[in-house]
């Protein structure tokens, strides 16, 4: 007999996601992914000045602010066929790179590690053995007996006061938790150390972006970072070197901690390599442009279908018609008026809520399709496209990861094992490593270009009479993000954002093809139907972020806390 489990909401993500699974014989047979919040936020842009759109789009989501800002200016520049100066490109790239590193570190440690790491088990760890294990894997200076003892003591204090609940759903002691106590203590210690390093790399975004979240330095046509090496108020040598130092320290953390932890935890959970592949069509867009037009890139983009790594179709420019023509969205199972599959320029967003019915409509999320196919987006898509296409840095980091994890697991690991739940985590780390190398490169490109005396940062946009349209894309931490804008007489006529978590979390389409979340859950084991930890593992591996909306703080909870009226 089958059991139906509803997980609502999925915790440790941004936004409200509901997952339903049908379990039979301890295995997921069917799954449904439902976005529980209406996301029609683009409507606020209609009639506005396209030069200001990015200021609004970065408020779509409180976590993914930078990515919506970057994509919006790219969309308007594409509509105008406007190039931007090299400095503007490099400054944007450094922001993109720093934001991605921050996001990937936070995801691995703060948002998903505790699906695999049993915090309470860490209390049983022998600190001397933990330190010995840690130093055998890495030269990281934070792996001392003293450090592990301090974390263990603090943990013991929290557990004694019953305060650990916020870190998981209380899934410690779950039969699917397999790590030895020493590895758990190692991971918890790095979880806490990661707080410092994600903060450091985030500071790069605030130095170059003026502020984070919600950067202030963008403009359609370039950036607003005045460059004068001798002026304290502008981008100068001191600020550039501060950026470099912060990037270098994050790189050290990525190489000596994140990389090692990923390989070790992944290897010790090698039995999970067979779960969670789901949709093996992949889409990634190229990013970190190195020219002013957006025709040459340091991060690869393209498509792969049916997991066939021998066949990649590359996406090669900001205006690539292969991307432009093939994106559409379906609302067959979504709570919107109509029953269409349309190109983003032609879409509207008219809500029509009925009820939750998995056979009819069951989500606020639309279903994006590429040439009619569901696609998985995210670091795994980019890493596979890069690996299959021979992208040098991706090949370097992927090989290093597979070799190191393989050595710990005592197995030979090939890129084919990346299709799945653990593969998404591995790919995120691989991408983070690639980007840490590229951040270094783009810092040098910027410094050299300024050194040559080039201080240009902006090309003036001019809006023609009549209607124009454009699209911008960005390979965000969660995957391919695109904005589509129609401009009439200098004002926005239509605006659509097709976001990464929509590609992954969308419901079935008119042909009943499931989206990546839904497909990836099928076949997952469920050890305990009251605690479906395995569902969280697979869903979290996509790094879901479907907030894009509102919040109101609930301090008082169920019982009234101590409050004072003003």
């Amino acid at each position: 007999m089958s059991t139906h489990i509803t997980v609502d909401p999925i915790t440790r993500i941004e936004g409200h996601l509901r997952i339903d699974v049908e379990v039979d014989g301890g295995v997921v047979k069917k799954a449904w992914s439902s976005g529980q919040m209406f996301r029609g936020i683009e409507r606020i842009l209609i009639g506005r000045d396209p030069r200001e759109a990015w200021l609004f789009t970065q408020r779509f989501c409180g976590v993914c602010t930078t990515v919506h800002a970057i994509t919006s200016v790219r969309a308007v520049e594409n509509a105008l066929n406007l190039e931007i100066p090299p400095n503007a490109q490099y400054i944007r790239n450094l922001i993109v790179a720093a934001h991605a590193m921050h996001d990937h570190i936070v995801h691995f440690y703060q948002l998903s590690a505790l699906d695999w790491v049993d915090v309470v088990s860490a209390l049983k760890a022998d600190v001397v053995k933990t330190a010995a294990l840690a130093t055998s894997l890495s030269d990281w200076p934070g792996n001392s007996i003293k450090e592990f003892q301090a974390v263990k003591d603090r943990l013991a204090g929290f557990v004694a006061k019953g305060q650990l609940g916020i870190f998981t759903n209380g899934y410690w002691g779950h039969p699917a938790m397999k790590l030895p106590p020493e590895v758990n203590l190692l991971a918890v210690t790095h979880y806490l150390q990661a707080l410092d390093y994600q903060r450091r790399v985030n500071k790069v975004v605030s130095i170059l972006g003026g502020k984070t979240p919600n950067i202030q330095n963008l403009a359609v046509g370039g950036v607003a970072n005045a460059i004068n090496l001798d002026n304290d108020a502008t981008l100068n040598m001191a600020k550039l070197y501060e950026v470099k130092e912060l990037l270098d320290s994050a790189k050290q953390f990525i190489e000596q901690v994140y990389f090692v932890d990923l390989c070790a935890v992944g290897a010790l959970y090698a039995d999970w390599l067979k779960y969670g592949a789901g949709v093996t069509n992949y889409l990634a867009v190229p990013d970190l442009p190195t020219d002013t037009k957006g025709t040459q890139f340091d991060l690869p983009g393209g498509t792969i279908f049916n997991g066939d790594l021998a066949k990649v179709t590359k996406i090669t420019s900001f205006g690539d018609p292969y991307f432009q023509k093939n994106v559409s969205e379906s609302i067959a199972h979504s709570w919107y008026d109509g029953d269409w599959q349309r190109h983003p320029y032609e879409e509207d967003t008219v809500p029509k809520y009925t009820s939750y019915d998995p056979n009819k409509d069951y989500s606020w999320i639309k279903s994006p399709r590429f040439d009619g196919h569901p696609m998985q987006v995210g670091p795994l898509a980019q890493v596979l496209v890069g690996f299959a296409g021979g992208h040098e840095l991706t090949v370097k980091w992927a090989k290093k990861t597979l070799e190191t994890a393989g050595k710990i697991a005592g197995a030979t690991l090939t890129p084919a094992i990346l299709h799945g739940t653990l593969g998404r985590h591995a790919a995120r780390m691989i991408r983070c490593g690639v980007i840490s190398d590229l951040a270094d490169k783009h810092w040098n490109l910027l410094a050299e270009n300024i050194g040559k005396g080039d201080t240009r940062i902006f090309n003036q946009p001019v809006f023609p009479k009549g209607e124009i349209q454009g699209f911008g894309f960005h390979e965000a931490p969660r995957g391919t993000l695109s904005h589509w804008v129609v401009i009439e007489n200098g004002k926005i006529k239509n605006y659509q954002a097709v976001v990464p978590s929509t590609w992954n979390a969308g419901p079935r389409d008119a042909k009943d093809q499931p989206g990546p979340y839904e497909a990836s859950l099928v076949g997952n084991p469920i050890a305990d139907t009251d605690k479906p930890l395995e569902v969280l593992r697979t869903v979290h591996s996509f790094d879901p972020c479907i907030a894009c909306a509102i919040h109101t703080l609930d301090v008082e909870g169920k019982e009234l806390s101590r409050v004072r009226a003003l």
Partner: protein, 151 residues
Amino acid sequence: MIYVLGLGNVLMGDDGFGPAVVRQFEKTYDVPENVEVVDVGTPGLDLMPWFYDAERLIIVDTVKADAAPGTMRLYDKRDLLRHAPSVRTSPHDPGVKEALWTLELAGRGPKEVTLIGVVPESVELTTDLSDTVREKIPVAMEAIARALGQA
């Protein structure tokens, strides 16, 4: 550093109260050098970089409470940490509590926290606050000034 953070989504009506208050506060008051006033939006766990090395935090936000729209409430760190063992069950939770608790475990984070909250009237897609909530901006600014005076 002392941080005054305005939380909320400026595109969602009264949810933009926090950002509106801190922007107005910056224009109206002389802000001391050791105080940084920031509209942070709705960053969820990305609040942690702000909390990490803060000596003291003053947060302005909308709050869910069993009270009329426009009602203002003041909370301290103990109130915020009180319901710690609950998980993040609401999408409307911006991560203040999780960020504070995580940093407690790391042995970091602010010693003192003041949360100045207003109960929203309307949280809909608009960049305007409702009249009921807009009228509370001066009250919230005075509360920030008072909290800074106590620092």
